[in-house]
Symmetry: C2
Subunit: 322 residues, 2 copies
């Protein structure tokens, strides 16, 4: 975060996290950023998930730049796949989740059931595929060609959790008073899609963790720290935008901290910023520790560093400017 | 199905499927049935998921007998694990799904979020574990000790789908008119838990399919036939019970067929029975084909035969008598 961003994303007085010690920029970016944007635009012509040309253009641009920083050393086709996956989740959330989902949760369940069916390995959805269903099928086919069965199983599990997170959010958008802070913190990684992005890293970069490594404390703590960080900085960075769009951002970290601590917005931002800085420090320490040992664990640590950096970078981007 | 069952489960005039050609009894049962029942009773003392002693007694009895037929050659500890898993799903559906879930779907989402958290591999649920959370953790630990990472991933994926199915059902229990027949048929395997039971077979019986075998057409068709059959015969057998309890069984195969074909209940039962008989014949043919080749595919075919048999047997049991 820099001062220019602070003034553009939020009212000037609100404190924002300083993550420069843990994640110093500049963040490396793949040379394929523009290619990703072009590809994504084309993919969204094949699968028209986004109606507004302006929204499509903004989203493909930020996705190209973001994914180029998420996996700066990945191959072109892998970057395209990662971008399309992220676009699918974002477009689905925009089109069917959030306010639309909150207005008719049962309809959101029915819409989602098609994707549950596809994720469970069935090819033909009941009643013919929707545009989102056809796009998901394309993504799963492309991922399946590159992934081991276990990698494929992990990705589809995380996608189910994302769908659950979107459902959870739709059910509480107008009743945030029913959500506790611990519940919110547990659900946030699913609604920001970060664990899904992390799950793609092995396929994007061509390494594979052993199971003992995957379930080791350093890896678990690193992944949790990055997952928390991604959701929280997104909440802070998007606060102004969400408030401008809906009049309030009541189901987000600042609002929940205000309620939990009976404090004002500035104090909530201060607390949230401290939380971000603490998790960033935890992540950075684990990345240094895992990198030192080399091998797949170092590959994974590098991946987590660039994933975290892409979220840190994201909050500096125009998508979050009001 | 025999005539005695027909008269006890449904009004005498309603046609029921005759599955004797495809799944001739008697169905082999493990000698551990009583042990399973005793173990299950004890497990439900440790994790009190069921409040009513009468319900607990009925459910542990049917589960002991049912699981003994689901995997007649499995070891004792594996049978205990399978029984506890099925009990967890059934008890959760009874306690939080169905009418309770329909009354407050957002609460069901919040309750479910704890299990999503555990299934995603996190040990400590936010806000401390519930009784169902603690029981699920116990199940996942025991399953994890026996399963390969891929087997574990498949089970937890199916459990997520079961939770989604319970959510889907709760959202439509009072609005069955919003559900199409194809949607219902696609969702039914998740709400009857049959694919989850099938997913445990490798761990229960100690074989492992290759990935090409798992995704081969004969295996996929067999699993789909058994999944359909399980849900449909359950719908027919439980129709009288559901109608007696809630006044109507509107979100089930007979009701949907009546609406789809503008027919009466008897005609709906006739159509559903034919559907059952056709899928049973498909399953039996695939079982014969896969058994002939030997190896893990034959093991899997035997497992699917006993799983199907346990559902066929189940409809003959007192749980479904009114």
């Amino acid at each position: 975060m820099n001062d220019a961003t602070r003034t553009s994303t939020t009212p000037p007085a609100l404190p924002m996290p300083d993550l420069r010690d843990s994640f110093p920029g500049p963040f490396p970016a793949s040379a394929h950023a523009d290619d990703i944007e072009r590809h994504a635009t084309q993919w969204l012509r094949t699968f028209p998930l986004i109606r507004s040309e302006r929204a499509l253009s903004a989203l493909t641009h930020i996705t190209g730049q973001g994914v180029a920083r998420t996996f700066p050393t990945a191959g072109r086709d892998e970057l395209f796949l990662c971008a399309d996956l992220f676009l699918w989740l974002t477009a689905f959330d925009d089109a069917h989740g959030e306010a639309t989902g909150a207005a008719d949760p049962a309809r959101l369940l029915r819409t989602t059931s098609e994707y549950v069916h596809l994720l469970a390995g069935h090819h033909e959805p009941p009643g013919g595929p929707s545009v989102f269903g056809a796009a998901l099928r394309d993504l799963l086919d492309r991922y399946g060609e590159r992934a081991t069965p276990a990698q494929y199983a992990r990705l589809t599990a995380h996608l189910r959790d994302n769908l659950f997170g979107i459902l959870w959010e739709a059910h509480h958008l107008h009743r945030p008073d029913r959500v506790t802070l611990p519940d919110y913190l547990a659900m946030r990684p699913h609604t920001v899609f970060v664990r899904t992005v992390v799950a793609t890293a092995e396929v994007m970069l061509g390494y594979e963790l052993t199971e003992p490594d995957r379930s080791s404390e350093p890896v678990r703590e690193l992944e949790t720290a990055v997952a928390d960080l991604a959701g929280w900085i997104n909440d802070l960075a998007s606060y102004a935008k969400e408030t401008a769009r809906d009049g309030s951002a009541t189901l987000g970290l600042p609002a929940l901290l205000m309620r939990q601590h009976e404090c004002d917005l500035e104090e909530a931002f201060r607390r949230a910023s401290l939380m971000c800085e603490q998790q960033a420090a935890v992540a950075a320490a684990r990345i240094a520790e895992l990198t030192a040992g080399g091998g797949p664990l170092a590959d994974h640590a590098h991946a987590l560093r660039s994933v975290a950096s892409s979220y840190v970078w994201h909050i500096d981007d125009s998508r979050y400017r009001t």
